[in-house]
């Protein structure tokens, strides 16, 4: 398979196009996904290619968007709704948590809800407290949902295709600062199985488990630390739930030091879950306290220097690693 470089947004668009071409039951819906092509340009061109039945612009109605999707999925369709910002997810939590996540179980397996909810998330665009949050940890906490957060164009395309083909409800978090990132993506068909982590960089002195945009900050930190003779391994879980515990624990047992780098705020976050797993299952492999690098527990500021201060960066990750080696 040959490889070429495309952007994260293009990779997602390709995944959508390929899955819609492959399976007539797949359709997309959301605010401004059709005529406008998505406010980040991700769904550009799909309306022209697939028509109004399969690319549906909706009113501003998050609860309705997901409710419609759950209903459609229940009778055999495979909807891919978009919720424009993660910050808007609270508006449709009832449909996600109480309906999509639970119907397969409560109906004794008689129906399935194969929806894939695409959600741009994250800070860095000065969109302030109500349009910058990372809320993936909330959904990791709900049984019945799968949570995916790709960090590269290659991962985004393979994981989105796999998510659409998964018969379970999947929440697919795209980081809005990654849309323009370019990366190698093979020409041909490929899928990345959900629940499988990726070692983005091998190392031996410390393990950083990083998600989404923080994968890149961690890699930058690792490159700089290598200059000081500290060898850092970077693990990208890619799927937050179900989590690839084996990959993480294997790495922790190898290096003895664990740092988790996440953009969401620290308290009660995904990092806490990973730290608990490591402490529960690999305590005697740990040679230092576990460290979490995350946003401060504050609403994300509108002021650019304050936003930059709150969100973790390469420097904070480097400090965390240095504090434990």
């Amino acid at each position: 398979m040959s490889s070429r470089e495309i952007t994260y947004a293009e990779a997602i668009r390709e995944a959508l196009r390929e899955e819609m071409a492959r399976d007539a039951r797949v359709f997309i819906l959301g605010e401004d996904v059709g005529v406008f092509g998505g406010i980040f340009g991700v769904t550009k061109g799909l309306l022209a290619e697939f028509g109004e039945e399969r690319v549906r612009d909706t009113p501003i109605s998050e609860l309705g968007i997901i409710g419609l999707s759950v209903g459609a999925a229940a009778v055999g369709m495979r909807p891919v709704p978009e919720i424009m910002f993660a910050d808007l997810l609270p508006l449709c939590m009832e449909q996600i948590v109480n309906q999509a996540a639970k119907m397969h179980y409560m109906f004794g397996g008689k129906i399935k809800i194969p929806i894939t909810i695409r959600v741009p998330q994250g800070a860095g665009r000065r969109t302030a407290a109500q349009h910058s949050q990372c809320l993936d940890a909330w959904f990791v906490h709900v049984p019945g949902l799968k949570v995916v957060a790709p960090s590269t164009p290659y991962d985004a395309k393979g994981l989105l295709k796999a998510s659409i083909r998964d018969d379970n409800p999947v929440i697919f978090f795209e980081h809005k600062m990654l849309y323009r990132m370019r990366g190698p993506v093979p020409e041909g068909e490929y899928l990345i199985p959900l629940g499988r982590a990726d070692v983005k960089r091998e190392g031996s002195d410390a393990t950083i488990v990083a998600t989404s945009l923080m994968v890149h900050r961690a890699l930058e930190a690792a490159a700089e630390l290598a200059g000081e003779g500290i060898s850092v391994e970077v693990i990208d879980p890619r799927t937050l739930s179900p989590l690839d515990r084996g990959a993480i624990l294997g790495s922790v047992r190898k290096t003895g030091r664990l740092i988790i780098a996440e953009e969401a705020c620290r308290t009660g976050g995904f990092g806490a879950e990973v730290a608990a797993i490591a402490a529960e299952e690999a305590i005697d492999a740990l040679d230092a306290p576990i460290r979490r690098v995350a946003a401060f527990d504050v609403p994300i500021p509108f002021s650019p220097p304050l936003e930059d201060y709150v969100i973790p960066d390469k420097k904070r990750i480097i400090e965390a690693v240095r504090s434990v080696v």
């Binding site: 003895g256 305590i283 005697d284 492999a285 230092a288």
Partner: protein
């Protein structure tokens, strides 16, 4: 008026109790008769009532500490009363050797005599230290906040090894001596030896390991006579098939490995490691077997022996023994054993008291299998009999569990068809 709360005595034989939980915090109001703390003794767990009313001013023995009967564990003062100087009270305090702050005693005294805090070390460092018998309290930590980390323990292990390698005679001398100075020169009057085998390399490793076991384990050996007649018959019938299928000779040691593994499944406490203060009952049953070499012995390990068939065990054991004799065993071949078998029967030994392989808690010695007169249904018949000796560490468990294990093992060997399933 100040009331000193002490560890109560319940029953004639109680000598100490462990504080499981404080039901009040420092500063809380306390009423006489209301439950104040919970203790655990050898025999039971119980709540203990406060012996006076007032304010729980100071807790001297934190949760988890073990305190002798009648020693002080807390102080109750009247509301508004100041905490008195603690020296007089702490003279009877539970902690040996921990610094009692004399000059600065005040309400905010940070460290009254509590039982000595364990050395601050990372879990990994603690594990490695326990495996190598390193005393953490003697180490300086280089990790975050002065934490003792793996590197510090590894350095201590190296230093210990280096110190032990120096011959004692060299240390006593003022002038440097050549390293090969024969040891008997250090002790005048010793007759000259015909041949000197230095205690180093494999021999030294064995000596150190067994010394540690002898010094620390409380070894008890129990013996059982096993009627091996069926086992002999079983082996005769199977030997050819095993040799054909796995190219390995089926030996009684192989049968004993599988029998022991099966017996360990039923008596998991025997399949344990005693490390530091913990008896760790292991999930994997990894049976090691002693292989004699010219200058010593090695104990390769058959992992998950309970899950392998007799064919697999025979084949694997033979291969490991081969490699042992050629000195080609890798560290993973001899690691993670949970139980060991040693067979001296072929040398005519009837029974013996093997040394337990630390940190394991038991070892099985197999004696000579020979025909002896035995009573069967009231008649005297020649039967094949062998004596099995199980040496176990009484710190980890007592005679009855060990005897029960040996009994099960004996049962399996006397009806060996069980080894086929």
């Amino acid at each position: 008026m100040v009331t000193v709360v002490t560890m109560p005595k319940f029953g004639w034989t109680m000598t100490e109790g462990k504080i499981v939980r404080w039901l009040k915090k420092e500063g809380d109001a306390v009423r006489k008769g209301e439950p104040l703390f919970e203790i655990e003794t050898e025999k039971m767990e119980t709540e203990v009532e406060a012996i006076a009313s007032g304010v729980l001013k100071k807790i001297l023995a934190p949760e988890g500490s073990v305190v002798e009967v009648a020693k002080p564990i807390a102080i109750i003062c009247e509301p508004g009363e100041e905490l008195p100087p603690l020296e007089a009270i702490l003279q009877g305090a539970p902690a040996p050797g921990e610094g009692v702050p004399r000059a600065e005693v005040s309400e905010e005294a940070a460290a009254p005599a509590k039982p000595p805090k364990p050395a601050r070390a990372s879990p990994l460092a603690k594990r490695i230290a326990a495996e190598h018998g390193i005393d953490l309290s003697a180490l300086e930590g280089t990790g975050p906040g002065g934490l003792i980390v793996k590197e510090d323990v590894l350095r201590a292990i190296e230093a210990k090894r280096a110190a032990e390698a120096k011959p004692a005679a060299v240390e006593e001398r003022a002038e440097p001596r050549p390293a090969e100075a024969p040891r008997e020169e250090a002790i005048p009057g010793l007759p000259k030896a015909g041949k000197v085998i230095p205690l180093e390399g494999m021999r030294k490793a064995i000596a150190d390991r067994l010394s540690l076991s002898a010094r620390t384990a409380v070894r008890v050996t129990i013996t059982a006579e096993v009627d091996m007649t069926e086992a002999v018959r079983f082996r005769e019938q199977l030997a050819e098939e095993v040799e054909r299928r796995s190219k390995a000779r089926l030996s009684f040691t192989h049968m004993a490995i599988k029998a022991a593994a099966k017996a360990l499944e039923r008596h998991p406490i025997i399949n344990s490691l005693l490390i530091g203060n913990e008896i760790r009952i292991m999930d994997e049953i990894n049976v090691g077997f002693a292989v004699a070499l010219e200058e010593g012995l090695m104990v390769p390990v058959i992992r998950n022996a309970n899950r392998k068939s007799l064919f697999e065990i025979a084949s694997e054991a033979n291969e490991l023994a081969e490699r042992a004799r050629k000195r080609e065993l890798s560290p993973s071949d001899v690691a993670d054993g949970t139980f060991t078998i040693t067979n001296l029967g072929m040398y005519g030994v009837e029974d013996f008291t093997p040394v337990i392989n630390p940190p394991q808690t038991a070892i099985l010695g197999i004696g000579r299998i020979a025909q002896r007169p035995a009573v069967v249904d009231g008649r005297i018949e020649p039967r094949w009999i062998a004596r099995l000796s199980l040496a176990f560490d009484h710190r980890a468990y007592d005679g009855v569990p060990a005897a029960q294990f040996l009994q099960t093992l004996k049962g399996i060997l006397e009806r060996p068809y069980e080894l086929l399933v």
